[in-house]
Structure formats: C-alpha cells, structure tokens
C-alpha cells in the first residue's frame, strides 16, 4: 500500500489547490483560537476535561457496566463488538431481522473505521450518508478526508460536477447555497422514507444510560426521529461519568472544532420514542489494547474535534487521504499504529513534531510526544522502510566515529563545491522543493580550532 509520503506527493502536485487547502484549514484554526481566547477560563476548562477523561479511563469497566445497566433499564438493546467485523454483523443482523431496505446514516467515524458501508454493500444493502460533506464524498466513492469536514479536500466546482451527475443540478452552477438546497431536497426524501437510522455517539453518560449526538445540519435527528429503528454506534471511550460533565465537553467540542460556541443541535437520547426500537453497539476494535499501552492510552481521551488536524502543518499540506486511514491527522497517527502497526508504520513520521497538536487539544493529549514514542516502537518492531533504516544506521556509524565524521564532512563540502550536480539532483530527496545551502568554507570545528582553540 502507498505510504503517506507517496500519497502526499500526489496531493501537492496541484500547488494552488494545496495552498488553498492549507489556508482554508488555517482559517478554521484561527476561528478556534478566537472562540477559545474569547472564553475566560479556557485553560481551566481543558484541564477539567483532561482530568474527567483520566478519571473515566481509570474506571472504565465500572462506567461501562453502569452505562449498560442504565441503558437497558431505559429499554435500549445494548450490543458489544470486539472488532469491526462483529460490529458490522450486529448491524446486518438487525437489518435482516426487520427486512429493512432504506437506511440513513449520520456521521460516525467508528462506522468508517469498521468499513460498515462497504460491508453492507457486499450484502446488497445500500446506506445513504446524510451529512452533506459525507454525501458528497459518498457520491464520488471517496472516503472522508477530515473527521469534521469530510469534503474539505474538494472545491465547489468538484461538488457542482458531482451533484450535476447524481442530482441533476444545473451544470456549472457552483453556488454553495444552490448546491446545499439540492442536497436538502434529495436527502429529505431519503429521511422521510428511512426505516433504519444509524448514528454515531459523541458522549455516552454512565449515570443516565443516555447519549448525546451533535450536528449542525440536523441530519442525525431527521433520521433518528423518523426511522422505526435507531442504531447508535460508539467506541467504548465515548463514555463519561455524569450528565453534568456534558457541560464541560460541549463547551469545548464545537469551539475546538470550528470555532462555534456550540453545534446547532446537541441531541440527548435516553429512550426510544413510542413504537421505535433503539440499539447501542459498543465497540472495542483495538481500544482495550491501546488502554494497556501506558505511553499511548491517553489517546483514548479524544473527543474527535479535529483541532489537531486543522493546526497541523503536515496535515494542511498533505490532505486527509494521504493518511490512508479513517481517522487522519496527528490523532489518527497515534491511534492507527495500534490497530495495524505494519500498515500504519509510516504515520508517526508524518509530523514535524512541532507540538501544535498538543497545544490545541481540548483534552490535553500529548499527541506530539506520542508520535515520537510511536517512532521508536515502530522501529523496534522492525516496521521501518529499508532506506530509512540503512540511512539511520550509516548515520549512527559515522556519528560514533569523530575522525570518520570529520572526513565525511570535508568530503561532502568538497563534492558540493566541485560537483554540485552530484547533490542537486532528483535522487536527493532533500533537494526536491528545496535549494541546497551554500557550502561553508570551513566547518565549525575548523573555525573553533583556529579562533578559540588556542
């Protein structure tokens, strides 16, 4: 499978579009800053959220049992899935039992992680994604490139072409208002006909057995309140102890994600409506293993706001698809190696380790430190490219021998001066998009010996 660097190269081939992507996400980051700095007590709020999540992780078994008990008492059927396949089968069984054909789904990164849509498609069952961004990428047979803004890699011209093809909108009409209206009409029909609604879960409350789903569009509610069956899917880390803790997380979530003070809709589901059937699927899929990794467990505190994506200089300039996983960005790079280390060994290296991700994280995950730690794990487990390994070994050999190091430096400077084409060519990865530095006449050591060494 192609790795992050190779996939990024494809993305940055279109330079104006790369710049646009970079600027657009930076704009979202700035909106986040405005919202965060405009709220006195923001840092205390982050600390509170971090502590609540730490506490929850340290009592996870207790809270999950409590949540299950409460949810059952509320008449909800609770399912447990050890992995993505079990999750998909549970949903398929419910669909078969009710002979359901019309299915709508609001945004759920978990169902992306489990590849639910593909699984059901193989069984001949179609799921309609109802978040506007997700519907756009679904039409285009692409995965979302961002967990909050699924179609952020696309321009309005792309959306216009896609809608012209699938929704028969006017050719060349790129007006976002017009295109959104077309999607509204198209998806209203899907909502009205829906028999099953699948939603994600933003927060599940142990104390009440209820769960909260946040959207701006209202798509989760349109589906869930129409369909006869509602299935909510959650990774087990979505649990929080009490309803009062929702205040902390709802204050942080939208401000961190888009700079809004709160999403338009924060829907609190406790029981099915009359005549409706409600299910919750609680999924592990590697999370319990991550919980056991001391250095990486606090990645499970994540509330999926994507602030770390929007601020990341690598994400902004390489696009979500270059991460080849359901959850991209810095956060994706610390959770995906746990799920499949071999396939995702490249991701911890898709970072400059600048630390901006950790700075904006609303629950204070030490993301950049984990990226650095994953690099060592990945290398120790032998999942690093041969070229990187050989280079590092050679480097280590030379750095360990001062005489050899000095000789190599002298040789390098001489070659760069005398035969610049040997360095300034395509074989030198550093030379791509960069000028080589001017060659100094002497090394620092030579200078030091001459001027200070006496």
């Amino acid at each position: 499978m192609a790795k992050h660097a190779a996939l990024s190269e494809k993305f940055i081939a279109d330079e104006p579009r790369t710049d646009w992507h970079d600027e657009t996400l930076w704009f979202v980051r700035q909106k986040r800053d405005k919202a965060a700095h405009g709220l006195p007590g923001w840092e205390q709020l982050r600390e509170l959220a971090s502590q609540i999540k730490n506490h929850t992780l340290s009592n996870l078994e207790k809270y999950l049992r409590q949540f299950e008990q409460q949810a059952k008492a509320n008449g909800i059927t609770v399912h447990w899935a050890a992995d993505g396949d079990e999750h998909n089968k549970i949903i398929h069984d419910i669909i078969r039992k009710h002979n359901i054909e019309k299915i709508v789904k609001s945004k759920s990164m978990l169902t992306e992680e489990c590849h639910l849509n593909e699984y059901l498609l193989h069984q001949g069952i179609e799921v309609v994604d109802t978040d506007l961004g997700e519907r756009i990428v679904q039409f285009r047979k692409e995965p979302p490139s961002h967990i909050v803004l699924p179609a952020i890699h696309l321009k309005k011209q792309d959306v216009s072409e896609t809608f012209h093809k699938y929704l028969q909108t006017e050719k060349g009409n790129n007006d976002p208002q017009y295109l959104t209206e077309a999607a509204r009409q198209h998806l209203r029909d899907k909502f009205i006909q829906s028999e099953l609604a699948i939603t994600g879960v933003n927060f599940a409350v142990a104390e009440t057995g209820g769960f909260v789903v946040c959207t701006n569009e209202g798509n989760a509610d349109m589906g869930a309140h129409t369909a006869a069956v509602h299935i909510a899917c959650m990774g087990f880390e979505k649990i929080i102890p009490k309803a009062e803790h929702l205040a902390v997380f709802l204050r942080l979530l939208a401000r961190s994600a888009t700079g809004q003070a709160i999403t338009t809709y924060s829907s609190h589901f406790l029981k099915a409506r009359r005549g409706q059937e409600m299910h919750i699927v609680i999924v592990d899929n590697g999370r319990s293993k991550q919980l056991g990794r001391k250095d990486f467990r606090n990645s499970l505190k994540c509330i999926r706001c994507a602030a770390c994506f929007n601020t990341c200089p690598v994400y902004r300039r390489s696009g979500g698809h270059s991460y080849h996983t359901a959850v991209a960005g810095p956060l994706g790079s610390i959770i995906n190696p746990n799920m499949d280390m071999k396939a995702n060994a490249d991701l911890p290296f898709a970072s400059t380790l600048c630390g901006s991700c950790s700075n904006v994280c609303p629950v204070k995950i030490d993301i950049h430190e984990q990226l650095w730690k994953w690099r060592q794990v990945v290398v120790a487990e032998g999942y690093v490219d041969a070229s990187k390994k050989t280079g590092m070994r050679g480097m280590a050999y030379i750095l360990a021998k001062p005489g050899m190091y000095r000789f190599a430096g002298k040789m390098g400077r001489w070659v760069m001066r005398t035969f610049p084409f040997m360095i300034n060519n395509k074989l030198n990865a550093w030379y791509k998009q960069r000028e080589m530095p001017e060659v100094p006449k002497q090394s620092f050591r030579d200078w030091y010996l001459k001027n200070r060494g006496k």
Binding site: L60, E61, T180, A224, H225, E244, Y265, H268, I282, L291
Partner: protein, 194 residues
C-alpha cells in the same frame, strides 16, 4: 467467552490506576453582567433572531396570523392558544410540509445562544427539526450564563429525549461557505418574555 465479557475483562486488566474525579466549580466560570443581552448577541451571531417581548399578546397574534395563511403551522404552547396535540402521532411523511412550529423552551444559555427543549415541549421529536421555521419561546428568568448552569437546571434523565438548539440548521461543507438551512429549520427565532 462472549464479546461483552472479553471486552470488559480486557478493560479491567488494562485500565490505569484510579485517579479522582475533579469537581466542577460553577462559581469560577464566566459570568455576564447581563445574561439576556449576551444571549441575544450570541443568537444573532449564529444566524438566529432574538425578540424581547413584554407579554404574550404579540405571539398570540403571530400564531393566529400564521394559521390564517392556511399553511401547516403547529403550536405546542398552551399560553398561545389551542395546542396541536394531534402532531404527537404524526409520521415524518405527514410532517414533511410543516412550515412553522412554536415551542416553549426550558432554559436559554447566554454563552452560546442555545435553548433546551424537552420532548414533552415539542410533542413530537421531529417537529423542531423538520419544520422550515422554528419559533422558540423562553422566559428571561430562565436564561443562565453557561452550560454548567444549564445542566443544573435540567434533568436529562427526566424524558426520553431532549435537545439544545442554537440557531438555525447550517453547514459549511462546501468550501467552508456558510449556508443556513441544511436539513433542519431554515430560521430560528427566540422570543424572550421579559
């Protein structure tokens, strides 16, 4: 061993040593000189409309005028006239043409312009979402500074469903251009009774 036991056992084995749950001190979070003013400002900034009224007369007239147009209007507030109880059993197909809904809210939140509505206040869970235009009514005394204060006033385990709604439905999924009226209401007006 089934998935449930497997997962819970793995969690029990792997979870870190217990750390205490912090206490939220509501008194240390932001407070506003005028929560009503802050609520209005926030609501307007997210595309909603805030209208302060002294009594219900103007609202009653508004409901009557809307109903006189022959469009599908739903009133769920007793103080405004006849309550359209029948909507509680309507399906999505039957509610599809809903033009406007009048709903009483329990709490308004100054820091973000959100209003909490219980299921019993909306009569049918779909109503506040499927209507083209949403009208919410709150008492000024029910506006609180922050979400912390809001959760202290509501009980999320009291009814089967409840929601915070902040302004009209919106999306920016196409090139980050803000469009009001995604899947839910195209407009949200909150009447604040002084």
């Amino acid at each position: 061993m089934n998935a449930r036991e497997k997962i819970l056992n793995a969690i029990a084995a792997n979870q870190p040593e217990a750390v205490p749950l912090p206490v939220i001190d509501k008194d240390t979070v932001i407070s506003y000189n005028d929560v009503g003013m802050q609520f209005n400002t926030m609501l307007e900034s997210i595309g909603g409309k805030a209208v302060c009224i002294q009594d219900l007369q103007v609202l009653k007239e508004s409901v009557n005028a809307d109903k006189a147009t022959g469009k599908f209007i739903v009133n769920t507030i007793e103080a405004l006239g006849e309550v359209d109880e029948y909507v509680s059993s309507l399906s999505a197909a039957q509610l599809e043409k809903l033009e406007k809904a009048y709903i009483k809210g329990t709490v308004g939140v100054a820091e973000n312009g959100a209003v909490w509505i219980y299921e019993s206040q909306m009569l049918n869970r779909l109503v506040p979402f499927i209507c083209q235009h949403l009208v919410l009514v709150i008492d000024k005394k029910d506006i609180v500074p922050t979400m912390h204060h809001a959760y202290a006033k509501i009980d999320t385990a009291q009814e089967g469903f409840g929601v915070f709604i902040a302004g009209p439905s919106k999306t920016a999924d196409i090139e980050q251009s803000l469009v009001i009226g995604a899947h839910g209401a195209r407009s949200a007006t909150v009447y604040i009774i002084e």
